[in-house]
């Protein structure tokens, strides 16, 4: 039993060493700062390791957790942004300063319906195949393909409107 625990720990550490930098970098592109990216990546690994032995595909599970944590972060920061807008409504014209394209696309992805957003992030951004995404989200492959198509179409339309 002790040997098995040591095996699990080594495998978990291998997975951590191999996946953390990319996962944290992946999250970094979706949030505002390094600190938040590290917080989300660490929390995703904590949740993964807490239920380590019962998982078929830890890497998929990891990205699913991170996707949900990013969504929670967006909700929270959205509330904060709305509150700040309300408080500063008396000073119009001071638009938030975004570093152009990166945040624009990110904001549009943030605005996608949850079903489209998860599939889009996991496939186009995290690099999972359609079958893997279907398995992770518990949806048929055809549905995931349709979600990806609609997500791209919405982003394209939204970017077209904003240019």
């Amino acid at each position: 039993m002790a040997r098995l625990r040591a095996t699990d720990r080594q495998a978990a550490e291998d997975l951590f060493n191999a996946c953390y930098p990319r996962l944290a970098g992946w999250v970094r592109r979706l949030v505002d700062d390094d600190e938040t990216a590290h917080e989300i990546a660490s929390e995703a690994f904590t949740r993964l390791l807490a239920r380590w032995s019962g998982l078929d595909n830890p890497q998929s599970y990891l990205y699913m957790i991170a996707t949900n944590l990013v969504r929670d972060h967006w909700r929270k920061t959205g509330r904060e942004r709305r509150a700040i807008r309300t408080m500063t409504a008396a000073a119009p014209g001071e638009a938030a300063c975004h570093p152009a394209q990166d945040v624009d696309v990110r904001a549009l992805i943030e605005g996608l319906p949850p079903q489209l957003r998860s599939a889009f992030l996991l496939h186009y951004y995290a690099g999972f195949g359609v079958r893997e995404v279907a398995s992770m989200l518990g949806r048929p492959e055809g549905t995931v393909k349709a979600d990806l198509f609609h997500a791209r179409a919405r982003l394209k339309a939204a970017l077209g409107d904003s240019t």
């Binding site: 944290a24 390094d34 904590t46 019962g54 078929d56 079958r131 398995s135 339309a157």
Partner: protein, 473 residues
């Protein structure tokens, strides 16, 4: 000029910038996870006490509940988890949850649990349109091929995309019969299998990139835990399986491409739990760019467990060790060439290894030999120029056989001199993806074009090869 689509593509195409963890992050995460696990266990125990107390106090509630009848099959209290629970994680005494796959067209009776590998024949027809990608022989003319059959997406069984099939032979490939296969697809990124090895009539492993284990000749297959890694090579000898696990990001059939953090794992026959084999340098095998790794076993037929395993690392070193699961060690200086990026089957595209009386490695068409287990190398000879080498094997005391994209080359003197082998009906287009010898006289080769649906067999030590179809024989 850039349009909206270009902006999306540009954003998506930007490489993710790696963000390494601060020192000590893993230890902190590990501690927090353990604390959380303990809390969850306590909560679950408390919940169980409440439920038991509730049932004891109000048996009528339980009676009323039972009037609704048993749960439908497959539906459990935690339905979401039960469906995806790894069979390897189930208690050893539990029966397999899913009925075994029989391949898309195998005629095995489902109620009997499919068909197993046999020393005679099962009588079940081999699946139609069989496209073999791997072959394994266990001696006495008994062996199996794994591949895809039927029409992808339209296969029989619970998962239409799961067209993975097995066929067995007991007469050196002259005839084939259906054997139950794991229910999964061909290799597709992190999913599916493409290779098979059987140690004997009972113990078998299907892998690349996932890993499935059978202990009853294929009647039942269990998914083995690979800790998020892909299995890019696996060999069996003695009473164990040895496998190279790696974190890879290659998609589609290139499941063994772009790998990092290679590790050697092993399990005894009969177990689905693979454990790491201790290796030097922190238990890791160094990755250096997009390289691969491969594994061969130099076994002693008189005493199989006394053989030696050899692992060619991505950086081009040989690790070797006993077939017991004990530690392996570095054997000497670098090989003449490293293990180049993997072919679709997982084997390196250059730096092919073979173990016989001497350890051999092919670097392009140059074959090198080591008489001291990889500590030092000297050139043995150069194979004919036609084609690119894809697979290397040895037989007897001095035969060396090289599969190439143009055919099969043969040497009877340890690789010094070479000649093209004779292929009945001519070499198939694209040549061969694999060659292996089971005895000094018998061996099998797989054509690179799996859609041919045949294997090539030699019974004269590799000098002549003839095709044998799998389906419809």
């Amino acid at each position: 000029m850039s349009g909206p689509r270009d902006e999306i593509d540009a954003w998506l195409d930007r490489e993710v910038e790696l963000l390494p963890p601060a020192p000590g992050t893993f230890e902190r995460v590990h501690r927090q996870a353990r604390r959380r696990k303990r809390r969850q266990a306590l909560l679950a125990a408390a919940g169980a006490v409440v439920i038991i107390a509730g049932l004891a106090a109000a048996p009528q509630i339980a009676a009323a509940f039972s009037q609704h009848g048993p749960r439908p099959p497959g539906q459990s209290v935690a339905a979401g988890r039960s469906r995806s629970q790894s069979p390897a994680a189930r208690p050893a005494t539990s029966a397999p949850a899913a009925s075994p796959g029989t391949g898309p067209a195998a005629t095995a009776p489902a109620q009997a649990g499919g068909t197993a590998l046999s020393a005679t024949t099962s009588g079940a027809a081999a699946p139609a349109s069989f496209r073999p990608t791997s072959i394994t022989m266990i001696g006495g003319g008994v062996g199996a091929v794994l591949g895809q059959a039927g029409t992808p997406g339209h296969c029989a069984g619970p998962v239409p995309a799961a067209c993975t099939s097995l066929a067995g032979t007991s007469d050196w490939g002259a005839s084939w019969y259906g054997v139950s296969a794991p229910v999964t697809s061909g290799p597709d990124g992190a999913l599916g299998v493409s290779q098979v090895r059987f140690l004997n009539l009972e113990d078998g492993w299907a892998f690349g990139p996932q890993l499935y284990v059978t202990t009853d000749g294929g009647l039942h297959w269990s998914a083995a835990q690979t800790y998020g890694m892909r299995v890019i090579d696996l060999e069996v000898a003695g009473n164990r399986a040895f496998a190279i696990f790696a974190f890879c990001s290659g998609g589609g059939p290139d499941f063994a491409a772009n790998c990092t953090t290679f590790a050697l794992y092993s399990a005894p026959a009969g177990s689905a739990v693979f454990q790491p084999v201790p290796l030097p340098v922190d238990g890791r095998i160094g990755a250096n760019g997009n390289r691969s790794a491969s594994l061969v076993i130099g076994s002693d037929s008189a005493n199989p467990e006394a053989g030696t395993g050899y692992l060619l690392t991505p950086s081009g070193y040989i690790l070797s060790g006993p077939l017991t699961g004990a530690a392996w060690k570095m054997t000497g200086s670098a090989t003449p060439c490293p293990a180049d990026p993997a072919q679709p089957g997982g084997q390196p595209s250059d730096g092919l290894l073979a173990a016989g009386p001497a350890l051999l490695i092919s670097c392009g068409k140059s074959v090198w030999s080591s008489a001291d287990g990889g500590a030092s190398w000297k050139p043995a000879g150069i194979a004919p120029a036609a084609g690119t080498a894809t697979s290397l094997t040895t037989a007897g005391s001095s035969q060396v056989i090289l599969a190439t994209t143009a055919g099969i080359d043969y040497s009877a003197d340890g690789g010094k001199t070479w000649q093209p082998a004779t292929i009945a009906s001519g070499a198939p287009a694209g040549g061969f993806s694999y060659v292996g010898m089971t005895t000094a006289t018998h061996g099998m080769a797989l054509p690179a074009d799996a859609s041919l649906g045949e294997v090539f067999i030699t019974s004269d030590g590799g000098t002549t090869w003839s095709p044998h179809p799998i389906s419809g024989s």
